[in-house]
Symmetry: D2
Subunit: 342 residues, 4 copies
């Protein structure tokens, strides 16, 4: 069986190299092209020495036509506003595109432009892009040509909030999402604020009330529920390499038992290959998600306050980025959904 | 000027040794007795080598009478339910007692007994103990004989919530306190869950809806406000040594400007030696509090959700324990409030 | 093809659970028995939640006869002096035993007894045990019934020193091994010295001149070389979870080029599945070894001092313990040497 | 008593801001000028929020004449090759200069030029600069106009090696210095290699055989001893913020008791305010030095190998840079040597 050739555009970021590592063990796909913003052609294993011995491959500046000749599926692991300049050419050449930036995550051009402060360069692409959260939109993903791979924070938040909201349990259409992310979530760029001594033995909130994942969480939930949902999203920077743990507060309209709530979540996600609902009394810890493509969900209900508290944990580079991107590829191709992801 | 002799009962915990370190540089007090649960007499500097060169002092099992002969002020740095067995003897001998456990923090015996699951051994002491949060109760602290030193989580939470609640700004009498604490907050005890490999590269929520600091925060706020306040308190364990950063969500009844809110906080705490209100647009980071006795407070208001989000940071061993205990001693003795604490 | 049933005696330590994780993906072996020093029967996945979803298995106190009925191969992941009390019964029952303690690493009973301060309980076992370092002793491992799995520090040290020493390059029969280990190397036991706040932001040397791995390194090298080798072994505790990086100093008798030295190492280890010799100018970093069963080796030669400096990195729980144990099992069984280890 | 005005040129690096923090509590000196490579004038407390409340001060691009008008003592906290372009103007204006770069650490211009690969711009300054290691060169420091403040690694290494070498105990004139440094030792510059995810859970050796502190250690020791000393210096990067711990190996000519060796060290450094010799059986840990201006020294002797192993720990930003710089200032000014440093 020949493998399907795949390109990674933007291979030298934390997400790009993670896609590469997954594809190295994928039974159906193989990496045919690596490109990045580099000076001339480099060896990818010189940039990431842990690849030595597994791989010997060039990485060059992106040349759209060369990529099209080599690959049938293209992962765009590029900064926001850059992806939408590359996607149209690949789509036009008939390639399937999985974009890991935010460029195609908003159905309405205006929303993108107001939150990202930049005109959208590809409204055409936007009109048929599919938000690649398989647990909510698997049928659409199957037929998609262009996937907007979800943001790392939205993945865990949306998956946790959706069942309770859909079941009509909320007293008010609002969710508070207090999220804590490891440092690779910020990308691999030289920045004073991300130096070891600035992050280690420290912890901080950032972008309160204004983080760009706020409208993504609220927008996707509102669309999926068919009614408006408000989100207070508060991200924090954890001194760990990987993982996001979010603590989510929902006010319920009536008392509920934890058993019944867990049952609701288990029914909603029972057959999902990458969702684990924790049993009563147990909550996921960050490290239990790290290194996996799972979204772990646990919950507590407080009868004194009528708050449902959800704890969701994912690996920001896997279920929050590269792993989910490969999961989307598997679905688009009709392959086993967990291929390469165990 | 002779210095006032002080005893530390429970000197080998993280909090006990922190009191000791503060007192080493205190202009008016000096350590006259160190006791702890040890086998025979040890040298405190053998247990904490960083003290070598500054101090050569014995630490023995506690002998109440011997402590009374040596000291006029007694810090009890003992586990919950143990403090209340020692405090009465010191009080009877006319000593001033500053207790760092939870044993005297609840005005009503029943509340203590229901949350701590143990009968209260000293209802007499409970009846005249003063909750030692100087910024709210300084006048009472001045006259106290027995101080219930506040818990680490309640200190930052109460100080942050109080001004907005007192000003009548809240739409509902509820606060969500999402708190993140360094590991020394759990005390210095050999435990699998606190081993380096269990905490490092990890993050978790714990005791959701049931943490014993919940009734302390709610009770103190309710008493200070003269009306019921509900608290959803969610603690998390951070992979850092010291510090607590809490993100607090309050629903306001009406729109408010951040300037006006900051002004309210600055007026309430303007002259406080250990409170720093951050300017508009700035939020405290954990490390800016670590090593100080300060409580740092910053805020954001979200007009879309009408949530006031407060971020409070303290050093759990200083303003959250040993530092605040010394601050209370200074006030009780009529000394400069910041003596030993800069 | 039916899988060979395997027992892990001592399954709740860091090493025991690591063997379990490897065997979960092993094509030829399967775990048939888990035992440990536990109160009654527990579920292993309750102790290690990251196993949930992959495994549902009991772990009980060890019962030698029950283990013998279930398993053909027994991994002993027990403390020193405990292994030798269990091994004889398994050997007598015809089981192959792979012992991860130090109990069978010394050919001479007297050496064991003088360094471990305890009489040896199984001189018979000692007489036919094989030191399980496949790169040096593969032929003996093939025929062994009882494997003494090497210590974590000796593995990297011996593999790095051997080729230069064997080639007769040393000016004096002495190696300085300055080793730095992650915290899991100390085992999973509740201990004040291993609490997060004691290790984090700290670094220390320990057991200088007296660490029990000193005679193991020196003894194995001396035996393999057929001449006496002295070792100055200096271990240090790193604030990381996993991995050992050793910097090794050898005084050469004459000038040597790095090319020629690397060539020597490449020739010695050319076909080894788990050794990587780094190219000229490159040195292994700790994280490049973590998560793999590889021993990474790099070197520099200093013409001013005639010192050959070797840098060796392994994962202490894999090549330094569980991974090497499985590698030994594979060799003993005639299976592919890397089965379960990629 | 008026305080002496001081300038910090290069105030926004880790070392510059550390000098500033020390001077804030100095009884005799006060900061009169802060300059750095900044765009226009900034507030130093905006760059380092932990200064808020203690300080409100501008930091501007350096203007030599303006600095000369304001300050009598100038700390140069600049990169190598930059300091020597600024020092001459300050010296000419009669200022005392303490340079924290390597520019004035080599008595011979040729040595500097061969190791730093750059012509020396101020041979005149070089000819009268004094190497500011007070424990070896206090008398020269007293009269100096220009101090070459020692490198962080050389400080601990030289202080540890000197007594044994001076006493004629060495079998050969060689020291192996295996040094491990926290990340602030690399300076505060945006660099991929210093990002949190690259350093955390990692450890590596770097610049083996070629680090520029090698000739500094060897040169200073050789000059102080009056005979050639060779040094194998191997630095490593630790995942901690601050501190250097070096493990040093010296081959002795004859057996020696640890008591006698410790006695030698205690006699040599008995009255030194910033050196602590650890008692027999005890070794310094990194955190015992962090936050202090002390150099901590412990030792072990191995009769089997005749190696004397020294362990030295300092805070790289204090005794390894800013603290030692202030110590030198105190000596030059005839002030109490520990002013500002306890």
């Amino acid at each position: 069986m020949t493998k399907t050739p795949v390109a990674i555009v933007g291979a030298t970021g934390y997400t790009g190299v993670e896609i590469l590592k997954i594809l190295l063990r994928h039974p159906r796909a193989e990496v045919a092209s690596l490109t990045a913003k580099v000076d001339g052609t480099i060896k990818i294993q010189d940039e990431f020495p842990e690849l030595k011995g597994s791989l010997d491959m060039d990485c060059s500046p992106v040349d759209t036509e060369a990529v099209c000749r080599k690959a049938e599926i293209v992962f765009l692991s590029l900064p926001h506003t850059v992806s939408m300049r590359f996607a149209p050419a690949f789509l036009k050449a008939g390639k399937k595109v999985i974009d890991l930036s935010a460029d195609y995550r908003f159905p309405r051009k205006e929303d993108y432009e107001s939150w990202y402060g930049s005109p959208h360069a590809d409204p055409e692409g936007l009109s048929h892009a599919v938000y690649g959260l398989p647990e909510l939109f698997r049928e659409r993903v199957k037929k998609a040509k262009l996937i907007a791979n979800p943001g790392c924070f939205p993945t865990g938040a949306i998956l946790s909030i959706f069942p309770a909201a859909q079941a009509g349990l909320l007293a008010s259409p609002e969710a508070i999402v207090d999220a804590k992310s490891g440092v690779t979530g910020a990308g691999r760029k030289a920045s004073l604020a991300l130096l070891f001594p600035e992050v280690n033995e420290n912890f901080k909130a950032y972008s309160l009330t204004s983080h760009k994942h706020t409208p993504e969480i609220a927008g996707v939930l509102s669309a999926a529920l068919g009614k408006e949902m408000r989100v207070e999203f508060a991200p924090h920077l954890l001194p760990v390499n990987r993982g996001i743990l979010s603590t989510i507060y929902l006010k319920l309209a009536a008392d509920a038992s934890e058993e019944a709530l867990l049952d609701l979540y288990r029914r909603r996600y029972g057959n999902e290959p990458f969702i684990r609902i924790y049993p009563k009394g147990a909550l996921p810890q960050l490290r239990e998600a790290v290194g996996t493509n799972n979204c772990l969900i646990g919950l507590k209900f407080n009868p004194r306050t009528k708050n449902l508290i959800l704890v969701a944990a994912i690996d920001n580079l896997l279920k929050g980025a590269a792993g989910q991107a490969v999961q989307n590829m598997n679905i688009m191709q009709g392959w086993e959904e967990s291929a390469g992801l165990r």
